[in-house]
């Protein structure tokens, strides 16, 4: 044993070690729950994806063939494509509309009307997505509010069961997503706008900027961080959609609104193809990461 080592074993050093140990004890319970109920299943998903298994009998090692099956099966690839189409409705439309709404509130309604708008528009965000699905399932049905309104304005010819029609079912599901996510994005962007230095607006107005000019040159650049957050939340909501689709269409008609979440559920619990379901789950998780990481990176760079 060298002198160096002896010196390191001073009481102070032992104190530091003791403190580190205590610190780890503070993390241990959280880490345990996270490991058992999140990391372990995550590892198992990857493991299952390499086997053929019906959930009861013995499992057979099949290597990567489940992944090939997913990529060759038009229904499963279709579900992935559907989820990307939903991004347009869950993400692009709400974020754009929310930008307009928030800037209107910010400009014309700072008082009571603004507060009320905030509260009302946020409402769909606190109710269960299942409830949103049920409510809109009724609104979009044949005798529902949407067709009633269309008939009232003389568009009775286009009325249909929107969620039951191959051509309109996916956009109709998208509409539900817009309704749910618009308020959330609006309120978030509005919070960002109130942080913008009013002097920027004053100088823009002195230059004779109109609403659009002011929006493009002051509001939009200052909101890059909040827009990034909105995009992250809404893109995950689209790619990992389950509740709304399950309740409003169940993935149908045909497979026209099936998303990966629905297919994973069907494959595991109805068709007992656990390996295939797991391969699709791994692909879904990788897709979410692939889409989210660039948005996040953009955010970080903006901030620094």
């Amino acid at each position: 044993m060298t002198a160096d080592r002896v010196i390191r074993r001073t009481p102070l050093r032992r104190g530091v070690r003791r403190r580190a140990l205590i610190g780890w004890l503070f993390v241990a319970p959280a880490l345990l729950m996270y490991t058992v109920f999140v990391l372990q299943p995550l590892g198992l998903t990857i493991q299952y994806s390499l086997y053929r298994w019906n959930g009861v009998g013995p499992a057979t090692w099949v290597g990567l063939s489940n992944y090939l099956t997913v990529l060759r099966d038009p229904d499963l690839v279709g579900s992935i494509l559907n989820s990307f189409k939903l991004v347009l409705f869950f993400s692009i439309v709400p974020v754009s509309l929310a930008l307009v709404t928030a800037s209107v509130i910010h400009r014309v309604a700072t008082g009571r009307l603004g507060g009320l708008t905030r509260t009302v528009l946020f409402l769909p965000q606190v109710i269960p997505l299942v409830a949103a699905g049920i409510i809109w399932g009724w609104l979009l049905s044949l005798p529902g509010l949407i067709n009633q309104a269309l008939t009232a304005v003389g568009l009775g010819g286009v009325t249909r069961a929107w969620l039951g029609d191959f051509d309109t079912a996916l956009p109709a599901v998208g509409l539900i997503g817009i309704w749910v996510l618009l308020g959330f994005c609006t309120v978030l962007l509005l919070a960002g706008m109130t942080k913008i230095d009013p002097a920027l607006y004053e100088s823009a107005r002195l230059d004779g900027a109109n609403w659009l000019r002011e929006f493009l040159s002051v509001t939009l650049p200052s909101l890059r961080y909040e827009i990034g957050v909105c995009l992250t939340v809404t893109v995950v909501a689209a790619l990992a959609a389950f509740d709304i689709v399950y309740v409003s269409t169940g993935g149908g008609p045909g497979n026209s609104t099936a998303v990966p979440g629905i297919q994973i559920y069907i494959l595991t619990f109805l068709e007992r193809q656990v390996g295939l379901a797991s391969a699709l789950a791994v692909i879904l998780m990788l897709l979410v990461l692939a889409v989210i990481l660039p948005i996040q990176r953009l955010n970080r760079e903006d901030r620094s």
Binding site: V38, L44, A109, I135, I264, S278
Partner: protein, 272 residues
């Protein structure tokens, strides 16, 4: 700003509010029609059937549902708060060795879709023998809340000034006292916002309830609503009445605490 612009803006806002509220109005008027009929979108009935709500209370088994959902929230939120706060404290304030790596491990779970792990979760719980009990929902929810909870609490503790701890240490406080007596009271706003978020997320959790618990009366409110829809999809007025009732607790809590809830959900997403 011109008057015309002001009115145009106000008109836009009123329209958007109408679009948000009309769906609720539609299920409300529909709920008042005679059970088994097929009314139109928004149509005030000649003879409002207020009794539908009474029927729905019985059919939806509201009393049992409320108790079940409340049990799940009460079992999940306090435990998850304590675990997340302790871990956030160790990672953000004690800066234990490996803190960065731990944080990274937790943050990794932030964007994880629940569908990604639901399949093995089912088989794991079957092995553990907790399938179809409320713990089938409670235990994984606690685990699934850890990434966000730890991340949230670490963000709080990382910004607490260091001299507070040093002063207490000089007075001879050990880590446990330091945590409970000094830092938890200081973190109350962050903890209560996190609690609001976790409560809303638990109450509204659907996928776990659907897959892990067969009996709707042992599920969350959202899970029970899904089952209710499955049984009464053909009786639209009753379905609407049941949906309204199941939404009622959420709406009441939202109206009462809306500032708090909006603030929490916003901070939640910005931090995440």
């Amino acid at each position: 700003m011109s008057r015309a612009e002001h009115y145009a803006g106000a008109a836009l806002l009123l329209t958007m509010m109408a679009v948000t509220v009309l769906p609720f109005l539609s299920i409300f008027t529909t709920a008042l029609h005679p059970s088994g009929t097929l009314p139109r979108g928004i149509d005030w009935p000649a003879h409002p059937q207020w009794g539908n709500f009474v029927d729905a209370v019985q059919v939806a088994n509201m009393g049992v549902l409320l108790r079940s959902s409340t049990f799940i929230v009460v079992a999940v939120v306090p435990v998850a708060l304590v675990l997340a706060t302790m871990a956030g404290f160790a990672i953000g304030l004690l800066r234990i060795p490996g803190a960065r790596l731990l944080l990274l491990l937790f943050v990794f779970g932030l964007t994880l879709p629940f569908e990604g792990i639901i399949t093995p979760l089912y088989f794991l719980e079957r092995e553990m023998g907790i399938l179809n009990t409320r713990f089938a929902i409670v235990l994984p929810l606690i685990g699934l809340f850890m990434p966000f909870g730890v991340f949230w609490m670490r963000a709080h503790f990382a910004n607490v000034p260091h001299d507070i701890s040093e002063a207490a240490r000089v007075d001879g406080a050990n880590t446990w006292t330091l945590f409970w007596r000094i830092h938890v009271p200081l973190a109350r706003p962050a903890i209560s916002s996190l609690g609001v978020l976790m409560a809303v997320w638990s109450w509204n959790q659907f996928l776990l309830a659907l897959v892990l618990v067969e009996d709707p009366s042992r599920r969350t409110m959202a899970g029970a609503l899904g089952a209710f829809q499955g049984h009464y999809a053909t009786d639209i007025p009753l379905l609407c009445a049941g949906t309204m009732l199941i939404l009622l607790p959420t709406l009441l809590v939202y109206v009462a605490f809306q500032r708090h809830i909006i603030a929490a959900l916003l901070q939640g997403s910005v931090k995440g």
